[in-house]
Symmetry: C2
Subunit: 223 residues, 2 copies
DNA sequence: TAGATTGTTAATCGATTAACAATC
DNA sequence: TAGATTGTTAATCGATTAACAATC
């Protein structure tokens, strides 16, 4: 802080620092958290900013700075304690709680998602799996989960607080499901289908497109 | 360009401008390409920088500038022709050709990937699908593809030019497969397992982690 | 102690944004 | 023509990088 800053404070003295992270910081912290969670699973107790950089493709200086903005979490010469860094980042991102997901589509992709740990590891619980195929209805996909008819969705969204809708449906069905989600107040949609979705402002669509990463990886391979 | 730059040219006069794109530009162009490909499938003939911005979450001015750096591809008052923009970006990324992929793991995720259009749309062809489970061997997963024993991989990599290895295996098997890929000269690995992989320098690992996007989407939802 | 790694600064580079003339 | 959207500039902001003292 320069002396001038003290003369012209950005906010009233005594107030807490800005609570809202920038998109970049929030995105990077999420990536650190993903790696840390996995590192913990693999029994790693400490991790250096350089290791984090190798796994996340984020510069190690950037990582140290991102973290040091919130406190002195590391130990010089040693690195960061994995466990405690996980809790610290969860606190910063305020994602320590449990959040409910509804999953649409019980095909290969839907079942792969339902059976994966990725969401569970970060406090997201798939509470319902929907499909329209009568042959799939009632099928047990995991201990907790069986395939329910799409029509049940309204009921579910009223009973459980669904924060995210995940689409693993064929592209031609995606917009219809998205509309239904929006109509029932869901404001985050995770789109694994290839369809381009139209949603009203205030609703966020995240599209996962592995081919994109492959394209630019290939560019640097060929160039 | 400042006058000083003309006195101290970065490269010999008369040579072509730098061919290598920055990582940021290459990554963004890839995202535009993904959206354009899908827009074309949906019968869209023109698209504006604003529409591209809505779908990619990249600022529309940024998009126009990225594109105008390579030519005047748009029409004022109209937008960009989807078809011709696809060809232009492919030319820039030099990914117009066909490239071969080997896919590991024939579980739900592996079968979902094998059956998807994402890779095919961008010129990536899955030429072989491997698994170690004897019960799955020989199973037809698509018209072109049947499950082969992991041991066949060396043969395949010698016969076909495999540029990318895609891992859809359980986390405990991922490192072993990665090592085998590296040993056989594959330098791009796409990791859908949750394992953290160690690879030598020169090999690129891309890890797809949907939960990461969800985490930071949630942050802005809660904040 | 010696080696390793954090926390932090300063310089550079690239991304973002607003604004607007050009033009379809 | 009128409306829309590109191509481009300029100003600001955030990311990247190198470097290094502090310190475990």
């Amino acid at each position: 802080m320069s002396p001038l800053d003290r003369l012209t404070p950005q906010r009233p003295l005594g107030q807490v620092p800005p609570e809202r992270l920038s998109i970049g910081v929030a995105a990077r912290l999420s990536r650190y958290l993903q790696v840390l969670t996995q590192a913990r699973k693999m029994g790693k107790e400490t991790i250096s900013s350089q290791e984090l950089a190798d796994y996340t493709h984020v510069n190690s200086t950037q990582i140290r700075r991102d973290l040091s903005g919130f406190g002195k979490f590391g130990k010089r010469g040693v690195g960061y304690n994995v466990d405690s860094l996980v809790s610290q980042i969860r606190k910063i991102l305020r994602t320590a709680g449990q959040h409910n997901i509804a999953l649409f589509g019980a095909g290969n992709l839907g079942q792969a998602i339902a059976g994966s740990d990725v969401f569970a590891d970060h406090g997201f619980q798939v509470v319902a799996l929907f499909d329209t195929d009568p042959k799939k209805l009632g099928k047990k996909v995991s201990d907790q989960l069986e395939v329910r008819p799409f029509e049940d969705f309204r009921k579910v969204v009223q009973q459980e607080e669904i924060v995210v809708g995940v689409l693993a449906v064929p592209p031609e069905a995606a917009q219809e499901v998205a509309d239904e989600l929006v109509a029932n107040g869901v404001r985050i949609i995770f789109n694994y289908s290839e369809a381009l979705l139209s949603v009203p402002p205030g609703v966020t669509v995240h599209s996962s497109s592995p081919a994109v990463d492959l394209l630019y990886a290939l560019y640097f391979y060929l160039a």
